[in-house]
């Protein structure tokens, strides 16, 4: 990694150091071509903001520095042969280190980025800013000398270096024909979106309901981006809209989006460098005193400690649970952040806070405060921080859908930044049945979006898109299409059903009502499609982590389900012939305390709804069973030998049920001789005890 000039003392009033052409070559290579892009396409999106990030300088110093470095090589007369010569020398020396054309090509992309946002792509709109980068007094409009002859070769050579010499290990550079835009198009395709524009890709993926790992056709992503950005007035949205709607740039745009989608894990990532982006959350500690603040969130992609020079003139951040301390972040203008977002750099990591119309705040145990979250879960309580112009539509929606108990916290207004309102205690228990207002749409995974979207359901397994049979999701129709048919196909078969939908009225189509058989299904609405798989199940016994939550009982006994870690406390029951309906049988042990009446559990008829029949039944006897006394047809009890146990009468046997049952019973016919002798002993014991 090249040392950053940002390390100089920020109080130093002297001009920034002149950075050499070689320094820029190394820094640009490190930034755009790094191992996190392994095998992926590089988006060489050079703009003022990116140059600041690379160099640590402020605007416009960074661009001036790059231009100065290039001018030091080619001069203001555009001697591009100098770049060619340096490249040849570098090749002869073994192509070691960064490609020497990178600063020059970066300048050509920077020129494209400086074309007016609404300007067309005509070459004359490009050469003016290109020329003025090297010489602000240059008023000519044509291509610099040698530019059209050499620039394509330089792009091709850098692509060969990245793709072949480095084997794509630091990313691949793709050279695509860009319609009729010869020479200029190669720079334009990288410049049409700013690095900062790509930060919105995370919100875009969330809005279209993209699941991490989900495979979506790149053309669908591009079309969805076009829809998502249409009508948005911010400059970034206009640029993204232009790049997603230009036919000349379609292939490039799709490649960029596909790469970002492959990498997306539900958390923001820098599309240019592939590095994780830290998240800043807005929060309050209490509804009563909603002192609003910002918090830097830690996740496992981020280091334990960092320092940011962008806050408080050098603020160390240390991980504490799921956050960075200090909590909240000191020195941040929350009102400004709510209006226009905020970002800061700490080491290599950029943290960002996206400006939104509504924030859902959930209580965070670690933080001890209510902090903003990406989406709302059903059944959980939130406070909503809402921009005033959206308040009415949000309130109207909550009246229809939220569980009673939420309210507009009027007292809180004085504590909030101007133009914001706080709605407390908001809870949705189910997916809403009415249309979700745009201000809440990014937070509630239901509203219709540009792409056909799978929502809800009972997903199973680690691979996204697999649903339990009976737990089929709903699909939210594509806002791109006014097609009135929804098609469901069983992949690999001819089964296909077409359903009529009203795209102007129907927001969702519930797949669970179809009772689909297990299989892989493709659902198509207009040009948008989604694929889901339905399974009866995928686990033989239980999913991962089964039995990992337990209850601690008395004496350290652990309980999971109905299993306890204590040793068995009861002997198994014995199986005996079942008594007839309305009768009882008796199990006797050898001691006068050992007798058990056995009855059929006729009570089960009520909960079961039927009465089972029994030939045998369980007898739970906490003693060794010797005899089973069973009523015969005449209603008299007959004794069947269970075990050859001698009687153990005691003085207290008198009048016991044990004695009475013996005396009222006779030995059953067909019992072995030993049983006859033993029964005689039991009779004698019962008689003696009776007599005593």
């Amino acid at each position: 990694m090249m040392p950053s000039p940002m390390l100089r003392n920020s109080d130093d009033p002297s001009p920034p150091p002149a950075l050499s052409y070689e320094w820029w070559a190394g820094a640009i290579a490190d930034f755009f071509f790094n191992p996190s892009h392994l095998g992926e396409e590089v988006l060489f999106a050079v703009d003022d903001g990116t140059l600041c990030e690379i160099s640590g300088m402020e605007e416009p110093e960074a661009a001036i520095s790059l231009a100065g470095a290039v001018a030091s090589l080619v001069g203001t007369g555009w001697n591009i042969d100098a770049v060619m010569r340096r490249k040849s020398k570098w090749r002869l020396a073994g192509s070691d280190g960064p490609h020497p054309a990178l600063p020059f090509l970066a300048l050509t992309v920077l020129a494209a980025a400086r074309m007016g946002d609404d300007a067309g792509f005509a070459p004359h709109n490009y050469y003016v800013p290109l020329r003025r980068l090297l010489d602000p007094r240059d008023t000519r409009t044509g291509a610099p000398p040698g530019f059209t002859e050499l620039v394509e070769g330089l792009w091709a050579d850098v692509a060969q270096w990245a793709n072949d010499s480095l084997g794509g290990k630091r990313g691949r550079l793709c050279i695509r024909p860009v319609g009729h835009l010869t020479y200029v198009g190669l720079a334009l395709q990288h410049a049409l979106v700013r690095g900062a524009d790509l930060r919105h890709v995370d919100a875009f993926f969330r809005r279209i309901g993209l699941l991490p790992g989900e495979d979506v056709a790149p053309a669908e992503l591009r079309r969805s981006l076009a829809i998502w950005t249409v009508g948005k007035e911010q400059a970034w949205a206009r640029r993204l809209h232009r790049v997603s709607t230009s036919e000349d740039l379609a292939e490039h745009c799709e490649a960029v989006l596909a790469r970002a989608a492959r990498r997306w894990d539900g958390r923001p990532r820098d599309a240019r460098t592939g590095r994780p982006v830290g998240r800043i959350r807005v929060g309050i500690e209490s509804v009563r005193r909603p002192a609003i603040a910002l918090y830097a969130q830690w996740d496992e992609r981020l280091p334990q400690s960092l320092t940011t020079a962008d806050l408080e003139g050098g603020l160390p951040l240390h991980r504490w649970e799921g956050w960075y301390r200090p909590c909240p972040l000191p020195g941040a203008d929350v009102g400004a952040a709510l209006r226009s977002g905020l970002d800061f750099k700490a080491g290599d990591i950029r943290f960002e806070f996206r400006a939104d119309d509504t924030y859902a705040l959930a209580y965070d145990d670690d933080l001890g405060a209510w902090a903003s979250v990406d989406s709302i879960s059903y059944g959980e309580r939130y406070h909503l921080l809402v921009e005033r112009h959206c308040k009415d539509e949000v309130v109207s929606f909550l009246r229809d859908e939220a569980v009673e108990g939420w309210q507009v916290e009027r007292r809180a207004s004085s504590s909030l930044p101007a133009g914001w309102a706080l709605l407390s205690g908001v809870r949705l228990d189910m997916r809403p049945r009415t249309a979700v207002p745009p201000a809440l749409a990014p937070l509630i995974p239901v509203a219709r979006g540009p792409r056909l979207r799978v929502i809800g359901g009972l997903p199973i397994g680690a691979v996204p898109g697999i649903y339990l049979r009976g737990g089929e999701p709903a699909v939210s129709l594509s806002a791109l299409s006014d097609d009135d048919s929804l098609v469901i196909e069983l992949v690999g078969s001819s089964w296909r059903e077409q359903f009529v939908v009203d795209p102007t009225a129907t927001e969702e189509f519930d797949l669970s009502i179809l009772g689909l058989e297990p299989g892989r299904y493709r659902i198509v609405h207009g040009e948008s499609s989604a694929t889901i798989q339905i399974e009866d199940g995928i686990r033989e016994r239980q999913g991962p982590g089964a039995g990992t939550v337990s209850h601690r009982g008395r004496d350290g006994v652990m309980v999971i389900g109905t299993t306890t870690s204590s040793s068995p406390i009861q002997a198994e029951p014995i199986t005996v012939p079942a008594p007839s309906l309305g009768d009882a049988s008796v199990v006797l042990g050898c001691s006068p305390q050992h007798h058990k009446v056995v009855q059929l559990p006729l009570w089960l008829e009520e909960p079961f709804g039927f009465l089972p029949t029994w030939r045998t039944i369980d007898a739970w006897v906490p003693f060794d069973a010797a005899w089973h006394l069973v009523p015969n047809r005449a209603g008299n009890y007959e004794a069947l030998l269970l075990d050859d146990l001698a009687p153990e009468p005691d003085r207290c046997a008198a009048g016991t049920p044990w004695a009475r049952w013996i005396l009222r019973s006779t030995l059953a016919p067909g019992q072995p001789d030993a049983a006859e002798r033993l029964w005689e002993l039991y009779n004698r014991a019962a008689s003696n005890s009776e007599a005593s």
């Binding site: 059944g379 009976g470 669970s512 058989e517 999913g543 990992t548 909960p607 369980d618």
Partner: protein, 303 residues
């Protein structure tokens, strides 16, 4: 086509069985889905608590995590050799259960329980046949699980507690031991209090010495009811002809500790019925009811 007769609880049980474990947030979302699909308007925690009471899942409410219990067969006294399937019940366990019970000596059946998961039984001809089913299913055959669960039940005053700050009075509700209802606290007297901490109910006990203690709801309720004249628990024996089982009844406003709830539930394999303000747990033997009452410092009324 799909299992159309499945209840919300059946769908939820199958999902937790496939998923294995997870956060409360995921389980809550699954509860919301099945609630909407089956048009059952019940709070997610109620649906989850039923799965716990039936011995299918274990929930750590403080860590907001849950896991499914491994599948188990339970041989319960008083059920006439009808074994009860608890724990994980994914599709393949259900199928293996059907295969394992495809025998003249075993008769499998299930009994719907409204929106809760159906209770799954197999009537066996002998204890050996029940063991055979367990072996075929490669699960444990648990003998008299309720007894072991109750033996593990901690007394209400044995549950770990810790000192906490006094709550704000205007946010606290006090548990009225006469009406068994929560009402706004007007003064702080010894007893059980509920405070809403950022959307989650927490329970606090003010003891006689003036200390505020964090406590779980069941322990807090039953400690508060210690010495109450009106019984909170009662037990009735079986009818002479056994057409009515012995049962334990608990006032419906009260929450039993998890192990007691599970023990009482697994005694029949069914969730309790609510009868005239009481929750009725069937087939609970007197000895077990006595232990539960004793550990909760309650007098067990015989009816």
């Amino acid at each position: 086509m799909g299992p159309s007769a499945a209840s919300a609880g059946d769908d939820l049980l199958r999902w937790v069985s496939e998923t294995g474990s997870g956060t409360w947030d995921r389980l809550r979302d699954a509860c919301a889905y099945v609630g909407r699909k089956h048009a059952v308007h019940r709070r997610p925690w109620i649906q989850a608590s039923e799965l716990s009471a039936l011995g299918h899942i274990d929930i750590d409410w403080s860590a907001r995590r849950w896991s499914v219990a491994p599948p188990a067969l339970n041989l319960v006294p008083g059920l006439g050799l009808c074994i009860v399937l608890t724990g994980s019940r994914p599709h393949y366990i259900d199928r293996r259960f059907d295969e394992a019970t495809d025998d003249l000596d075993v008769f499998p059946f299930e009994v719907p329980q409204g929106p809760a998961p159906a209770a799954r039984f197999a009537k066996c001809a002998s204890v050996a046949a029940a063991q055979h089913v367990a072996d075929a299913l490669e699960t444990d055959l648990i003998i008299d699980p309720a007894r072991a669960l109750v033996a593990a039940l901690r007394a209400a005053d044995e549950v770990p507690i810790q000192l906490v700050p006094q709550p704000e009075m205007d946010e606290a509700q006090r548990f009225n031991t006469e009406t068994l209802q929560w009402q706004p606290a007007r003064t702080f007297e010894p007893g059980l209090y509920r405070v809403d901490l950022h959307g989650r109910p927490l329970h606090r006990r003010l003891d006689e010495s003036g200390s505020w203690l964090e406590i779980d709801l069941p322990s807090g309720q039953f400690l508060s009811l210690r010495g109450r004249k009106e019984p909170a628990l009662r037990w009735r024996p079986a009818s002479r002809d056994n057409t009515s089982s012995p049962y334990l009844e608990v006032r419906r406003e009260l929450v039993l500790p998890e192990l007691a709830e599970r023990a009482a539930t697994v005694s029949s394999g069914f969730l309790p019925q609510v009868v005239a303000g009481w929750r009725r747990y069937r087939n609970v033997p007197e000895a077990m009811a006595e232990v539960i009452a004793d550990r909760l410092f309650q007098k067990l009324e015989r009816v």
